[in-house]
């Protein structure tokens, strides 16, 4: 196994799963075995709502570089939005 490197963070938002949109209230971020990408380990993010069961999950599995690029891009977009006075 299995690194068991995992963090959980409370979030607010919506995700689109197998049965359509649902509220997500937690993100599980791990660097561990993925299910789909052909690598031994990946940066995995599961957006979940555990009250709705294990199937209420929107999943992404990213390479290390993709994950770092995503983090940078999210921050750049938020900074731009803030600079434009769009964050209230």
């Amino acid at each position: 196994m299995c690194t068991m490197i995992s963090k959980q963070v409370s979030i607010a938002g919506s995700g689109k799963g197998r049965e359509g949109w649902f509220s997500v209230n937690q993100a599980n971020v791990s660097y561990d075995h993925p299910f789909h990408v052909p690598d031994e380990h990946a940066l995995n993010i599961d957006f979940v709502n555990e009250a709705l069961g294990p199937g209420a999950r929107v999943a992404v599995e990213l390479s290390e570089q993709a994950a770092r690029s995503l983090v940078e891009t999210i921050l750049e977009v938020l900074n731009q939005a803030e600079a434009g006075g769009h964050l209230v």
């Binding site: 196994m1 299995c2 995992s6 561990d32 069961g53 294990p54």
Partner: protein, 253 residues
């Protein structure tokens, strides 16, 4: 057991309910040969990616080789859904407590021992986290006659990685290991690394245990998994042959 074209062969395979840790009921996949027996038993411990299709296939493979094989769902308490969704939930939570896993594995061993056609011997097999759990169980529970640990990571653990769920590094239970162990590992694995496997092997030697470790070149983690890119055909075939030769020696004779 060599199959010949004039032989009868049959098995029953189904999900069942069994008592796990603290007598709590969990589900399990149970495959056993048809016939009177007596049959040795095998507890098959799934990996971190869950109680999935590969594990149901593997459980049937052990039945085909003449073992009453049961694979307990160690993630039963995490809810139900697809094996992947349930495993993702467990991954997000950082795993399951070692005590629960050991209790469930002990329950599976007792289940097999209770069968009227048991030959009185039970082994345990696991890959990835299942290899680690199998090792823990064979150290902490009396009653296993053979152990196959396939690339079980985190047998060697740093002090800072110990917590309420993982209070003791499995390697520190080595003096209590109660049965022979076959270990199969890949040189390119990062968990366990070849250095960690060597450390584990040294501990087994120190305590005078019966062990047989194999480190495969050009193989990493999970080289038995035919549905993943880490599959290595030659190493996997050899590993299965070693597994069944080892179990034949300790569970059937």
């Amino acid at each position: 057991m060599t199959f010949t074209t004039d032989m009868y062969e049959g098995m029953l395979a189904e999900t069942v309910t069994m008592p796990g840790a603290n007598g709590e009921l969990i589900n399990a996949y149970f495959a056993r040969p048809t016939g009177e027996g007596p049959f040795p038993g095998m507890v098959i411990i799934h990996h971190m990616p869950g109680w999935d299709e590969w594990y149901r296939e593997a459980t049937r493979k052990f039945a085909q080789y003449g073992y009453a094989a049961i694979s307990p769902n160690l993630y039963f308490r995490s809810g139900h859904g697809t094996p992947e969704d349930v495993a993702a939930k467990v991954r997000g939570a950082g795993g399951i407590p070692d005590d629960k896993a050991v209790g469930d594995i002990e329950g599976a061993m007792l289940y097999l021992r209770s069968l009227p056609n048991s030959n009185g011997k039970v082994g345990v097999f696991g890959t990835c986290s299942g290899g680690r759990h199998a090792y823990l169980a064979a150290c902490r529970v009396q009653g296993f006659d053979a152990l196959v640990d396939c690339w079980g990571g985190r047998v060697v653990m740093a002090e800072e990685d110990l917590n309420e769920n993982f209070p003791v590094a499995p390697i520190d239970y080595t003096k209590d290991l109660s049965c022979p162990i076959l270990g199969l590992f890949g040189e390119e694995d990062s968990s366990p690394t070849p250095e960690q496997v060597a450390q584990h092997e040294a501990e087994l030697k120190k305590h005078g245990k019966n062990y047989d470790f194999h480190m495969y070149p050009d193989a990493g983690h999970g080289f038995f998994y035919h549905h993943r890119p880490n599959y290595r055909q030659q190493q996997a075939v050899d590993g299965w042959e070693k597994t069944f030769a080892f179990l034949e020696k300790y569970l059937k004779n």
